[in-house]
Amino acid sequence: MTTTAAALTLRGATIIEQMKKARVSHVLSVPDLHTSHGLLAPIAQDPDFQLIRVCKEDECLGIAAGLTYGDKRAAILVQYTGFLYAMNAIRGVACEQKLPIVLMIGLLGKEPGTPPAESRRFGVRIVEPILDVLGIPHVCIETDDDAPAISAMFDDAWRESRPRAILIGGRPEARA
């Protein structure tokens, strides 16, 4: 592997390690090609997570809200298109009810190493501005080096009782 390729590596295992560090117990998801192989597939096989496959992304907001009443930490793993679809539920449930709900948003089609705001894809480019308007703090995870921000965002969400978003910019690899 070249130095450049190694620097751009994001492993699903690294993300999962961070989710466990953050005590995530439930993963609520609609499959996303960006995270399908490297992240959702291993999560589905991991007995430390209860994976709930939903039909549409807005279901995740209700389920995650209910789970907070047992202090159960959920990760909502969806594609950016699903994030856009679920906008009203994000506004009404996560933001207005001030709940510790964490969105993990796959940026399908984002060019490797390119900031989301500079992507050639319109749908990818508008994700961060929308999160800013909603007042949801966010980070973009491009490589393994960025991964420590994942558990930090979950902890922050639960400490502040506010939603957070983790953009999965790099495509997670399945290898350990």
Partner: protein
């Protein structure tokens, strides 16, 4: 057809330590009939009452969760039946009050007032599903649907109630959500 308010009054007599998730018109009636800390008012996005209830049922497996949903609300999140059918929480009862209208939004008809919601639930592999259209049948079912292994789905055919606008301001207060958290914490 059933008077929804009368059905909820009968239900209230049997409710003890269950978490009751209510939305829109059912919630407006329920809060007047049984104002209690263990109520959860589904707010923020129409259609998600059963999803909130599913999360609560998973968070609190020791406690029954009863969702009071509307037909217009369920239609905004019909996939929830498939999700619930798969997750299959044992402590979950989902009642849908079918009046064929968006009662909270002016009384306009839902896209198909004759839709078979029990059929939808059964097709989603929720085997314990029923429909009732008279108050005596509803009353006879209460003990069963509060205790039978879930998920249980019930379609309750009701007359259209009072048209809106009804105020949701009180039920959506943050203090109510805090009271539910406190009640659950005390019970731990």
């Amino acid at each position: 057809m059933i008077d929804r308010r009368k059905a909820l009054e009968l239900l209230a007599r049997k409710i003890t330590d269950e978490i009751v998730v209510a939305t829109y018109s059912s919630a407006s009636d329920w809060i007047e009939i049984s104002d209690r800390a263990l109520n959860y008012y589904s707010s923020g996005a129409m259609g998600l009452a059963s999803s909130h209830g599913l999360g609560l049922a998973l968070a609190r497996p020791e406690r029954r969760v009863v969702v009071l949903d509307g037909d217009g609300s369920l239609l905004m999140n019909l996939g929830t039946l498939v999700t619930i059918g798969r997750v299959a929480p044992k402590n979950f009862t989902h009642l849908v009050f079918q009046n064929g209208t968006y009662e909270a939004n002016g009384g306009h008809p839902i896209p198909n007032p004759e839709a078979d919601f029990e059929g939808h639930a059964r097709a989603a592999q929720i085997a314990s599903a029923f429909t009732v259209s008279d108050i005596e049948s509803f009353e006879r079912k209460i003990d069963w649907f509060l205790s039978a292994p879930g998920p249980v789905f019930g379609c309750v055919k009701v007359e259209q109630g009072p048209l809106g606008p009804r105020s949701y301001k009180d039920m959506y207060k943050a203090e109510r959500r805090a009271a539910l958290r406190a009640a659950l914490t005390r019970a731990d």
